[in-house]
């Protein structure tokens, strides 16, 4: 990696911008986590919500606040810090752009939250039509997305000025990765912006009566799948380029890391149909094509797994380990900055396996719309990604606030990671099992008229409540650590770890910076995968559906 332009420390003014994003993210964690706890308690059948709220309202709150708000704010804040650290302090204009983005997102979040809390938008986090929310809910979400584009613009501006100042050189790896994720996000969010602006908003305002459900769902999933990679890639940034430094090793290969990010840009968007495999109205041939493209996204994840194993083994062997797995013992298990993201990496093995199952047409028939899927994304997002984000916070928050992660906090952070792992094993494990037995997702407790099959699910639902309770303890610990690191930890200098590439690694080729090429292929793949089925949907459109408000 080019380290010439690297800041020893993130500039205080840029640090404030990132911390602003983090405050919102961790407030979201508190609110969304509480909602999640209540959901698992309700589904156990042993607990009833007070009459002024309902299961679907807290489900929407949980999903929107954690799936959209926590993630987008954390990721944008993290990426801004990465760029400021590796490509140099933001200019005034770039920083101002970041602040405009932050406030746009925050205003949008407040609007959306008010609509959910006043029970005018209990449309679940996927806000599928024909469930109809108040127009301000959609408008709020639009502002969150527009704000994230403005944040993204700051990243693009910083990247462009770095390239101008360093002609012919590959950009710093972490800046490159942040840019890829930003570009993917911008291309992907065009889909959700289109359905909100052209379908859901006019329909919720009463300007049109009916909405084409299939078109809206297709546009949603055009966005919805790359959304999960938008969550995952920042975790990969830490795994590829930060964790090696924390353990004292080297990045296995800069080129391999860039290559895998480019593959994510290319293949994570034209794959939305694998969320719609059970949906009528889409020709199976197009579903098949998108499933093939989905399996191509498996490749960069396998590359990541390989690269991480290799980084760990090379480090262990350099410390004198022998045998096939002797290197495992040499890893710094007492360092929360490593151990907590490592639990996330480990969780990604069953998470990835589940993902491959979900994307396979026949297997999808077994698990579709069951709580297996909920179990799946609580391993991917709520363990792999979130634990890595926590692991990042343990050094980034004190770095930005001029404090240090004390030994006691480090210990507590490891306990936090272990508590999370235990809670999630119960909750997600039980969700997977109940899903295979047919338990539906997105639904409140019910015995389904005393059905025998539904009775089988109840023990698993109780296990979910146990897991959910343990996870909530994990959230309380995390919030305690965050507040400590932001306001109370002793003053000092916490390192911002940025990995260096192994000496034997090949030189990075410049082709990775050719955005005309990569964005060109991205657009071509999207057009190839979506144009004809989309024309089919519009030409054979039904009259559309009126809106429903069950809340």
């Amino acid at each position: 990696m080019n380290t010439n332009s690297m800041n020893p420390k993130v500039d205080r003014r840029d640090g404030k911008l990132t911390m602003a994003h983090f405050y919102v993210a961790f407030i979201a964690l508190a609110i969304g986590g509480l909602a999640g706890l209540l959901q698992t308690l309700v589904r156990s059948g042993k607990f009833q919500l007070p009459t002024w709220t309902g299961y679907y309202q807290i489900l929407t709150l949980h999903g929107v606040v954690l799936g959209l708000v926590l993630t987008t704010f954390f990721i944008m804040g993290f990426q801004l810090a990465l760029v400021s650290k590796t490509s140099g302090t933001f200019t005034r204009k770039q920083r101002l752009t970041g602040w405009i983005g932050f406030w746009t997102m925050t205003i949008g979040t407040i609007m959306t939250a008010i609509m959910i809390l006043t029970n005018q938008a209990s449309v679940l986090y996927t806000f599928y039509a024909p469930l109809q929310a108040h127009a301000l809910f959609y408008l709020g979400l639009t502002l969150v997305i527009i704000g994230s584009w403005i944040d993204g613009a700051a990243i693009i501006m910083a990247y462009t000025s770095w390239r101008k100042a360093n002609p012919g050189k590959p950009s710093p790896l972490l800046t490159f990765m942040s840019l890829v994720n930003t570009l993917m996000w911008i291309v992907a969010t065009i889909g959700v912006a289109a359905t909100v602006l052209f379908q859901l908003l006019p329909w919720s305002l009463g300007l049109v009566d009916r909405v084409d459900v299939l078109v809206s769902r297709t546009l949603f999933w055009y966005f919805g799948h790359p959304l999960v990679y938008f969550w995952l890639l920042p975790a990969y940034m830490a795994w590829y380029a930060i964790v090696p430094k924390i353990i004292g090793g080297k990045i296995f290969s800069d080129s391999l890391a860039r290559m895998s990010f480019i593959l994510f840009l290319l293949f994570s968007i034209p794959v939305g149909f694998h969320h719609q495999l059970m949906e009528p109205g889409i020709d199976p041939a197009w579903k098949f094509l998108q499933v093939i493209l989905t399996f191509l996204v498996v490749i960069p994840s396998l590359m990541t797994a390989f690269s991480l194993f290799a980084t760990f083994e090379m480090y262990g062997r350099s410390k004198g380990s022998t045998g096939l797995f002797g290197w495992v013992k040499k890893l710094p298990w007492g360092d929360a900055r490593f151990a907590v993201p490592f639990i996330g990496m480990l969780a990604f093995i069953p998470a990835g396996a589940g993902g491959i199952i979900n994307a396979s047409n026949q297997l999808n028939q077994v698990v579709h719309n069951t709580i297996w899927v909920t179990g799946h994304f609580h391993l991917t997002l709520a363990t792999s990604v979130v634990l890595t984000f926590f692991g990042i916070s343990y050094w980034l928050v004190p770095h930005l606030t001029g404090r240090v992660l004390t030994k006691a906090m480090n210990k507590l952070a490891i306990i936090q990671g272990v508590v999370w792992a235990i809670g999630m094993t119960f909750m997600s494990g039980a969700m997977h099992a109940a899903g295979l037995l047919g338990a539906p997702r997105r639904s409140s407790f019910s015995t389904y008229g005393g059905s025998e099959q539904a009775a089988e699910w109840i023990p698993y639902q109780i296990a979910q409540a146990v897991g959910g309770t343990i996870l909530f303890l994990g959230i309380i610990l995390m919030l305690y650590i965050f507040v400590n690191l932001a306001f109370f930890a002793p003053k000092g200098e916490e390192e911002f770890p940025v990995g260096e590439v192994a000496d034997q690694a090949e030189k990075t080729p410049m082709v990775f910076e050719n955005w005309k090429l990569w964005l060109g292929i991205t657009v071509l793949l999207i057009l190839f995968a979506y144009t004809i089925p989309f024309i089919d949907m519009i030409q054979n459109a039904p009259i559309g559906s009126k809106g429903y408000k069950f809340f």
């Binding site: 490749i299 290799a310 083994e313």
Partner: protein, 49 residues
């Protein structure tokens, strides 16, 4: 498609690295886990439908 990539990278390393045997074993175990879970749900499908 992934195989040539991975194979090539390992080769370059092997020249001046003591060993990446543990990595090889790990990715095989990972692959094995993916296949077993996939087949598990596949047989469930065959059984039910």
């Amino acid at each position: 498609m992934a195989q040539p990539e991975i194979g090539k990278k390992t080769h370059t390393k092997v020249e001046d690295q003591p060993s990446l045997k543990g990595t090889l074993a790990s990715v095989f175990l990972l692959g094995f886990f993916l296949i077993v879970t996939w087949l598990g749900v596949f047989f469930l499908f065959v059984d039910r439908f």
